[in-house]
């Protein structure tokens, strides 16, 4: 099974996208499955770290948290933009954090979450020491970014992946 379909998650996603782009029919299901399995073999040659998801139950919680946080920070950034850049009620700057997360896929997911949130931008990650440099549009919105990231996302991601 693992030799025939080395990346079941990716193959399933590919079949799903194939069926979305075409009208559903049995022929397209077969064709999409064939392409997905072929793509799985090709990806296997590249030897990426296969994601190991330990706890599926935490994924909906993470998704809901991310959707809610992005909505909140959209509103916050819209407020800042309408106030104007010279307004003294916000201050942008850099933040350095220390991450305990080491799993490649979990780090990629954290990068996606932090970049997709309008208030924070992921700039640089030192893989050896685990230090992360962020740029934050409003430094004052939180007191302690280190504990915020750790409690909010990092524990949940470690629960899922490690």
């Amino acid at each position: 099974m693992t030799r025939l379909i080395p990346h079941p998650l990716m193959s399933a996603a590919l079949v799903f996208v194939w069926l979305l782009l075409t009208r559903f029919s049995l022929g397209h299901l077969v064709l999409g499955t064939a392409i997905a399995i072929l793509a799985g073999w090709v990806v296997n040659r590249l030897h990426p770290p296969t994601p190991r998801i330990r706890r599926w139950g935490a994924i909906p919680r993470l998704a809901a948290l991310v959707v809610w946080d992005i909505l909140k920070s959209n509103i916050a950034v819209a407020r800042i933009l309408l106030l104007g850049p010279g307004h003294p009620s916000y201050h942008s700057g850099f933040v350095e954090l220390e991450l305990r997360l080491r799993d490649q896929n979990a780090l990629a997911l954290l990068a996606i979450i932090l970049s997709a949130t309008p208030g924070t931008a992921w700039l640089e990650y030192e893989a050896e020491d685990g230090y992360l440099l962020l740029h934050v549009l409003d430094l004052r919105s939180e007191d302690d970014w280190q504990t915020l990231i750790r409690d909010r996302y990092e524990t949940l991601l470690m629960e899922i992946f490690e």
Binding site: V17, L20, L21, I70, L71, N74, V77, A78, L81, L82, G84, P85, G86, P88, H91, S92, G93, F94, V95, E96, L97, E98, A111, I112, S115, A116, T117, P118, G119, T120, A121, W122, L123, E124, E126, A127, E128, D129, Y131, L133, H135, L137, L139, R140, Q146
Partner: protein, 164 residues
């Protein structure tokens, strides 16, 4: 626009709300590009168009075509999934490129960025406090740094003052 008459009014109002909100968010992202002062601040602005701007318009479009054709039309989801994965990649690469260029003294920089500490040289100090960097409108009453302390933080070999 005769095809729009088939929609029930409630659905039309909800779809209109989604479309208006989504495009307003995308416009705000552009206004952010116009108004914010430094590159790192501007990096945050288009994310609004990428996240909820796209989401709202895609959901509105999906709902409209599904109601008109009376079958689930889900192919806009592909754009949604695509816009979920790719913008973080581009923003991340752009941010890193800007950081590298700002650290390169040959190019000159209009922004002070925290210098890179090579792995192994950091010791056990833990994360630095780098909130004094950036072009900053530093309000001294709120953040602990004064301008003099910020200058001490900088490594003279890595950065040179743009004024000299």
């Amino acid at each position: 626009m005769r095809h729009l008459e088939q929609l029930p009014p409630v659905a039309a109002i909800i779809i209109a709300l989604f479309v208006v909100l989504g495009s307003t968010l995308a416009l705000l992202g552009s206004i952010g590009l116009f108004r914010l002062k430094s590159f790192y601040q501007r990096l945050h602005a288009p994310t609004m168009a990428y996240s909820y701007g796209t989401l709202l318009i895609v959901v509105g479009s999906m709902a409209m075509f599904s109601l008109i054709e009376k079958r689930p039309v889900l192919h806009e989801l592909v754009i949604g999934i695509f816009m979920l994965i790719t913008p973080p990649v581009t923003l991340l690469m752009l941010g890193r490129a800007a950081l590298r260029r700002d650290r390169d003294t040959k190019l000159g920089h209009d922004e002070l960025v925290p210098p890179r500490i090579p792995p192994g040289e950091r010791g056990k100090k833990g994360p630095r406090d780098v909130s004094g960097y950036g072009e900053g409108m530093l309000d001294k009453s709120v953040l602990p740094h004064t301008k003099a302390e910020t200058r001490e933080l900088r490594d003279p070999d890595d950065l040179h003052d743009p004024t000299d």
